[in-house]
Every structure is written in structure tokens, then in C-alpha cells.
């Protein structure tokens, strides 16, 4: 069963999210369970640390008056749950989401201004999670993981054509069907 977390500092919005998610999970019969609704990011980290399991996280981006914002929380969560699903909730439709996707592999973001739109976004989010999990089950692919400075890249091994040492020292170039990546390493 996939644990679902909500971290949202606005109580009214949080209550609405909680109610809607409970109903949605029940109605769709998803193999998920809403385990935590909180306004404090520390609670989410604590819970995720205590139950190390792949989860779904609905995180407010702004989190007023807290130690960390949604981005930092996402970073900490990634360390605990590298394969979890991060879905961001924001008041602004102009969120710099590409940064979230790049650094946190965030799945999607939802704008919470309009309640109907927000619900639609959450429904869509869970549907994407289910679809992803289904797709993963079907394929048993081995990945080559490599750390490039601050991010880790995963390349399917069957898509790697060759590695090449470059003129620069300790530098290796990976040539894949769809990728060309420089990284530091030795052969």
C-alpha cells in the first residue's frame, strides 16, 4: 500500500485536500492510504524516515512561517525516498516548475486558487502515479546510474552504446541512443 502525505500550511485548504483524497482513494479503489496531513514539513520528514517506503507527497511550495520551503522539503524527502512521487501545490500559476522537475524529479504541480481546479489536479496526479507504477511493473530494465555534480542520472543500460575517455583527465563521455553525458570517473 502506497502511503500518501499532505503538507499544507493553510488549514482550510488542507482540510479540503484531505477530504477529497480520502474520497478519491476509496472511490477509485487505489492501493493507497492517506497517512499524514500536516502543516509542518518536519512532521513529513519524521514520518517518512520512520516508515521508509515509496510514497506520494502533496507538498505546498510556499509553507509560510516554516523552517523550510517546499523545495527544500522535497530535497530532504528525496534523500529518504528516492523513488517517491512529489506533487507540488502552489498559489501561483507561474511556479518555476522546471527547476522542481530538474532537481527533484517532481511529477507535477497543482494550482490551489480554484478548488475545482485543485481537485482536478489531484485526481490527475494520482492517476499519473498509478499509471507510472503500472508501467514500471511491466518493464524490467536495468539502469546505469551516475552522479553528475548535484544530480543523479539514470540511463537504461540497453540504450548505452559506448563510453569514451576524453582528452580531459578523469573525464568520461557516455554515448547513448538519446543521451550524451560527460561525467567524472575512471575506466
Amino acid at each position: 500500500m502506497l502511503p500518501v502525505y499532505i503538507c499544507e500550511d493553510d488549514e482550510a485548504v488542507r482540510a479540503a485536500q484531505e477530504e477529497f483524497l480520502r474520497k478519491l482513494i476509496l472511490m477509485e479503489g487505489y492501493d493507497m492510504e492517506l497517512v499524514l496531513c500536516t502543516g509542518h514539513p518536519e512532521d513529513v520528514l519524521l514520518a517518512a524516515e520512520r516508515h521508509p517506503k515509496r510514497g506520494v507527497y502533496f507538498l505546498d511550495v510556499e509553507l509560510k512561517g516554516e523552517q523550510m520551503d517546499g523545495f527544500l522539503l522535497g530535497k530532504r524527502l528525496r534523500a529518504l525516498d528516492p523513488r517517491g512521487f512529489l506533487i507540488y501545490v502552489t498559489a501561483f500559476s507561474d511556479l518555476a516548475f522546471e527547476t522542481f522537475r530538474y532537481h527533484l524529479e517532481a511529477l507535477d504541480y497543482i494550482v490551489k486558487g480554484d478548488p475545482e481546479q485543485m481537485k482536478q489536479g489531484m485526481r490527475q496526479g494520482l492517476a499519473t502515479v498509478v499509471e507510472r507504477m503500472k508501467r514500471e511493473k511491466g518493464e524490467e530494465r536495468a539502469y546505469f546510474s551516475v552522479k553528475v555534480m548535484d544530480v543523479v542520472k539514470h540511463i537504461p543500460i540497453d540504450e548505452i552504446m559506448f563510453f569514451e575517455t576524453s582528452g580531459r583527465t578523469h573525464r568520461i563521455e557516455l554515448h547513448g541512443v538519446h543521451d550524451r553525458i560527460d561525467f567524472i570517473g575512471s575506466m
Binding site: E98, V148, D150, S166, T169, I181, D182, I184
Partner: protein, 450 residues
């Protein structure tokens, strides 16, 4: 003197020379050498050179070849060649830049030796006599090093690194300058030969050196002037960019004013509908209003507020220009910089050139295409900066040929971008790039470690 003694003496000399060369490189290239990052192969190569040439030198001394002018000239150029290799391995700069520094180094060292030898007590020192040998060694090694370091310090204080990199950019001046410099050892040798035939007094020995130092100063001055002119030009450009920035702010303000006018009217209408209890129309109104705001100014506010996070003027200017260009060409573009970006450990010229190439590629690919979009991202995290340029793909790219010089999907003569991009990055040990085709999008990424 015995063979091994000469060889040992040469090796000490070589060690001193390479040490000074290391410092010269640091001054001219304005960066640290990669001592720890040196690969085993490079290290062995340098060691080989280090052992071979002192021995060769000793051999030529023993065989009496040393007395020949021709040998001296050849030895000088061989030295310049292996010094160039030394610089290339330790600084990863372009070959021509390494050649330039190597030539200048040789000339400077020659000058230092000349100055130091003008203090000798006798015209001819016999190396077989202990005292005279010691004097010779002191003059050639210790005093020369001192004079050399003084000269180098002078260069450093004069900011020679900036001038040098500017000189490299200025193609014509580079060519003639380096030609003359490269010929200097030859000319010097010829002059000395003429001197020794004519038995001219010692005072004349240093004439070419002074001439040379003067011409160097002249070259330096010319470079400096040209550089100042370019700086002024850059300032003018930056003023233009700021002007454009202010104009876009003013335009936005005008649109805000317009919007304020509109929404007052809209609110008045809504007020009536609310009074009549028509909730559905009121909701529709609100929706319309927020959408309208988003469309009119939301995007602009966002771009400008993201741009505010870019604190490096050169990059900000580049982005302003490119974003403006895209707006003009009707290319949808998103720019993100969530955290403040202060700068990266790369020369501003090189960084701007790299980013320019990446953004130009993206723009060229999507220009005039339906549903096209370009995304640019700057993000500083954990001691490194990431630049990401992403564009929608509209034609099939040959992913593996794209790096070749001259390859382009856009026809002849366009594909120099990525190849020169690679060439610039080759000079930076702290930069990594990657390229990927991901979900119908072409993603180019450049990461620079602080």
C-alpha cells in the same frame, strides 16, 4: 667537466625553469594549474622530457656542438616546444595560447639571464675552475630566477592576463605579434653572432633585449587601448540593455494601468450581477478576470522577476537580448532562475559564448514551428550551477553527428556552434555538459562547479 655533472646541473636548471614556467602560466592564464588532476600518462610524458633534455644538453656540451650558433637556435626552439606541451598539459589552454606563453617565457628568461650575466666579473668564465663555475651557476640559476620573478611580478601587477586573453581574441594582432615574438630568439642569435665577429664591447650585448622589451611594452599598450575601447563598447551595450529593460518595465506598467481601467469596469458589471444574485455569472467574471490578467501581464511579471535573480551582468544582458529576440520572433519562452545566480567559475566571455550557442541552437530549431517552446533554466545548488536549455523537437536530429564540425540540420555553414562549444568546454576542468532527447524535447545542459 664530466658528463653526469653537466647533466645534473642541467636538471637543476630545468627544475627551476619549469617552476618559473608554472608561475608564468598562472599569471598569463589567470588560473591554477591542475597538479593533482594530472593523468598518469601526462605525468610520465613530462618526466620523460624532464630526464631526456638535460641529458641531451649535456651530450651536446660534451661533443662541442654547444659552441655552434645553429645548435643554440635549435635548442631554443625545442625548449619552446616542450614548454608549450608542459603548459598544455597543466593548463588545458588552446595550443596557440600555450605557444604564445612559452615564447614569451623563453624571451623573458633570456632577458633575465642577460641582465644577470651583465653582472659577471670576467668576460669569459671557465667552468673548470671551481670559483668561476660557482659564479656561473649563481648567475645562471639564482640571480636569473630573481630577475625573472621580478619581471613576472611586474607583468602580474600590470594585469597581463587580461591583456593576453584579449590579444588571443584579436586575431590579426595576435598573428603578427606572435610571429615577431617567435622570431625573436632567431634574431637575437644572429645579432650575437654579428657582435662576436665584430668584437663589439659588452655594453652592446643587451641592445636587442631592450629593443624587445620596448616593443613588448608597445604591444601591451596597444592591446590595452583596444581593450579599453571594447570595454567602452560593452558599457554602451549594457546601457542599451538596461534601456530595453526599463522600456519593458514601462510597457508592463502601461498594461497594468490599462488592466486597472478594465477591471474597474468589470467590477462594476460584476457588482450588478452579484446584486441580482447571479452567482454563476459572477464566478465566470472572476475566471475571466484572472485569465485576462495572466495573459496580459502575468507572464511578463514572471520573466522579469526571474531575471532579477541573475546578478551576473554579462549573462543578464545576454538573456535580455535573447528573450527579447524570441518575443519578437513569436517564440514562446520560459525562463527560470529560482535562486540568485552570482556567477560561475568560467570567464564571462566563454560563459556567454556557451550560453549563446545553446540558446541560438534552441531558437533556430523552433523558429516558425507550430506549438514550439523554449525553456531556459539557471539553478545554483550544492556548489554548482546548472544551465538548462530545452526546446521542442520538430525535425529528426542525427544525435551522433551533431557534434561534428559543420553538421547542421539548418543547411550549410551553420553547424559550427556545438563544435566550438565543445572546444571551449575542453579548457575547463570544472565544467560538464550533457545532451539528451527526452519526451520529444531536445535538452542541453551545462554544469559548472564552483
Amino acid at each position: 667537466m664530466e658528463f653526469y655533472k653537466v647533466a645534473c646541473y642541467n636538471m637543476v636548471g630545468m627544475a627551476i625553469i619549469w617552476l618559473s614556467l608554472l608561475m608564468t602560466g598562472a599569471v598569463f592564464f589567470e588560473k591554477k594549474p591542475l597538479l593533482r588532476g594530472l593523468s598518469k600518462r601526462s605525468f610520465l610524458l613530462l618526466l620523460f622530457v624532464f630526464l631526456l633534455f638535460p641529458v641531451l644538453g649535456a651530450a651536446s656540451y660534451q661533443s662541442g656542438l654547444m659552441m655552434l650558433r645553429v645548435q643554440e637556435i635549435i635548442a631554443c626552439y625545442v625548449q619552446i616546444l616542450y614548454n608549450m606541451m608542459f603548459l598544455r598539459l597543466l593548463y588545458l589552454e588552446e595550443w596557440r595560447a600555450c605557444w604564445g606563453v612559452s615564447v614569451i617565457f623563453s624571451i623573458l628568461w633570456l632577458a633575465a639571464e642577460k641582465i644577470s650575466f651583465s653582472f659577471r666579473t670576467k668576460d669569459i668564465l671557465y667552468l673548470n675552475r671551481m670559483l668561476e663555475f660557482l659564479e656561473y651557476a649563481f648567475l645562471q640559476l639564482a640571480l636569473s630566477l630573481g630577475v625573472f620573478l621580478a619581471l613576472l611580478l611586474l607583468y602580474k601587477k600590470a594585469g597581463v592576463g587580461k591583456v593576453f586573453s584579449h590579444w588571443l581574441e584579436w586575431k590579426r594582432a595576435w598573428f603578427f605579434g606572435i610571429l615577431i615574438l617567435s622570431l625573436y630568439p632567431l634574431l637575437e642569435s644572429v645579432y650575437q653572432a654579428l657582435l662576436s665577429w665584430g668584437r663589439v664591447v659588452r655594453i652592446w650585448e643587451t641592445v636587442p633585449m631592450w629593443l624587445f622589451l620596448m616593443s613588448m611594452a608597445l604591444l601591451y599598450y596597444m592591446n590595452l587601448r583596444q581593450m579599453q575601447q571594447q570595454e567602452m563598447e560593452a558599457q554602451r551595450q549594457s546601457l542599451c540593455q538596461q534601456d530595453a529593460y526599463i522600456r519593458s518595465l514601462e510597457k508592463m506598467q502601461e498594461e497594468m494601468r490599462q488592466f486597472r481601467h478594465d477591471y474597474k469596469n468589470m467590477l462594476a458589471g460584476m457588482y450588478l450581477q452579484a446584486k441580482e444574485g447571479d452567482a454563476a455569472s459572477v464566478l465566470e467574471f472572476i475566471q475571466e478576470m484572472t485569465d485576462g490578467f495572466e495573459q496580459q501581464i502575468g507572464g511578463q511579471i514572471r520573466q522579469l522577476s526571474q531575471l532579477r535573480n541573475v546578478h551576473m551582468q554579462e549573462v543578464k544582458g545576454l538573456l535580455l537580448g535573447k528573450l527579447g529576440e524570441m518575443q519578437r520572433d513569436g517564440i514562446q519562452c520560459d525562463f527560470e532562475a529560482r535562486q540568485p545566480f552570482e556567477g560561475a567559475r568560467m570567464k564571462p566571455v566563454d560563459l556567454c559564448r556557451c550560453l549563446g550557442i545553446l540558446i541560438d541552437n534552441a531558437m533556430d530549431e523552433v523558429r516558425g514551428k507550430e506549438g514550439a517552446k523554449v525553456q531556459i533554466l539557471i539553478s545554483s545548488q550544492e556548489g554548482c550551477v546548472t544551465f538548462l536549455v530545452k526546446n521542442t523537437l520538430h525535425s529528426a536530429v542525427d544525435f551522433h553527428r551533431m557534434w561534428e564540425d559543420g553538421y547542421s540540420t539548418r543547411g550549410e555553414g551553420r553547424g559550427v556552434g556545438l563544435a566550438s562549444y565543445r572546444k571551449i568546454l575542453d579548457r575547463y576542468q570544472n565544467a560538464l555538459s550533457s545532451t539528451a532527447v527526452q519526451d520529444e524535447a531536445f535538452v542541453q545542459e551545462l554544469k559548472i562547479r564552483e
